[in-house]
């Protein structure tokens, strides 16, 4: 039903240039897309909102290329993933400065280990692609097949990323006294 509604809204945007229909799509998916970016950027809300806005604008300008071969949400996550990795690539020049900043933050946070269980601290232990796979799978309930479509990898590769990510997270959570209760 939801998928049919999405297709109807997309058709209204493409054929009738109905911006109100696109507004409905933005309102429906803004939370999921912004949460996706919050997880990828480790809680940087300003950057997340900028990247989410860029994602929706790209979705609007390329909406005619949505072929309904996948869910609208999967298509949107794919754009979001590309926007995020374009951003990462554009930041490569300043990666050394970033690495120093991350180290500084990491060192200061090590002092608080055991005091606060923060999702972004746990996600920091993962590589970017592992973080994407883990958050899509566990938080957004996206299937492995769909994650493979989003990040453009075979399902086997997604399973490997998930497995490594889960292993690191389990170690981190246990180390910090989290037992799920």
């Amino acid at each position: 039903m939801s998928q049919l509604n999405d297709i109807s809204l997309v058709a209204q945007v493409v054929v009738l240039k109905n911006t109100k229909a696109f507004d409905e799509l933005v309102k429906k998916y803004q939370s999921a897309i912004r949460r996706f970016f919050l997880n990828q950027t480790l809680g940087d809300s300003e950057l997340s909102d900028d990247l989410a806005q860029e994602t929706f604008i790209k979705a609007y300008t390329n909406i005619a290329s949505f072929k309904n071969l996948s869910n609208f949400s999967t298509w949107l996550y794919r754009i979001a993933y590309n926007v995020f990795f374009d951003y990462i690539r554009s930041r490569k020049e300043t990666s050394e400065i970033d690495a120093r900043e991350v180290d500084a933050i990491h060192n200061s946070e090590q002092e608080n280990v055991g005091q606060k269980m923060d999702i972004y601290q746990s996600l920091k232990t993962l590589k970017e692609v592992e973080r994407t796979c883990v958050t899509l799978f566990y938080m957004e309930d996206v299937s492995i097949e769909k994650i493979a479509g989003i990040i453009g990898c075979p399902t086997g590769t997604v399973k490997s990323h998930l497995s490594r990510g889960k292993e690191k997270l389990a170690t981190y959570l246990k180390h910090n006294g989290y037992d799920g209760n």
Partner: protein, 108 residues
């Protein structure tokens, strides 16, 4: 990687899953969308203006306007300038000045 670990991670993420409130985000996105309709209407307006200018000169529009003005002036003179209502004339002039100022402000 045990099943217990899997369950633990699942519980951790589900507990951390929170709705992100809109707080004007959708409005900001809609405001920043490229306006395809406006672009098309600008192209259409420019096209119509160009056609209008070509037709104006093709059918000798300048002479037609001058003839109309001349006839109107002659008509007014014949019907007698004494019958002209000065107040109405002044009101019309003021309305035209007002419209002109408004248009200039819009363009600015």
């Amino acid at each position: 990687m045990t099943e217990i670990d899997d369950k633990m991670i699942n519980q951790f993420f589900q507990a951390e899953k929170k709705e992100v409130k809109d707080n004007g985000f959708s409005r900001r996105v809609m405001r920043n969308l490229p306006d395809r309709g406006e672009k098309l209407s600008k192209i259409w307006a420019a096209f119509c203006t160009a056609i209008g200018i070509v037709l104006f000169f093709l059918f000798n529009g300048l002479e037609a306007i001058l003839n109309i003005l001349r006839e109107a002036f002659n008509g007014a003179m014949q019907s007698g300038i004494a019958h002209l209502d000065i107040k109405s004339l002044l009101l019309i002039v003021l309305v035209f000045i007002g419209l002109g100022v408004k248009k200039v402000c819009q363009i600015a």
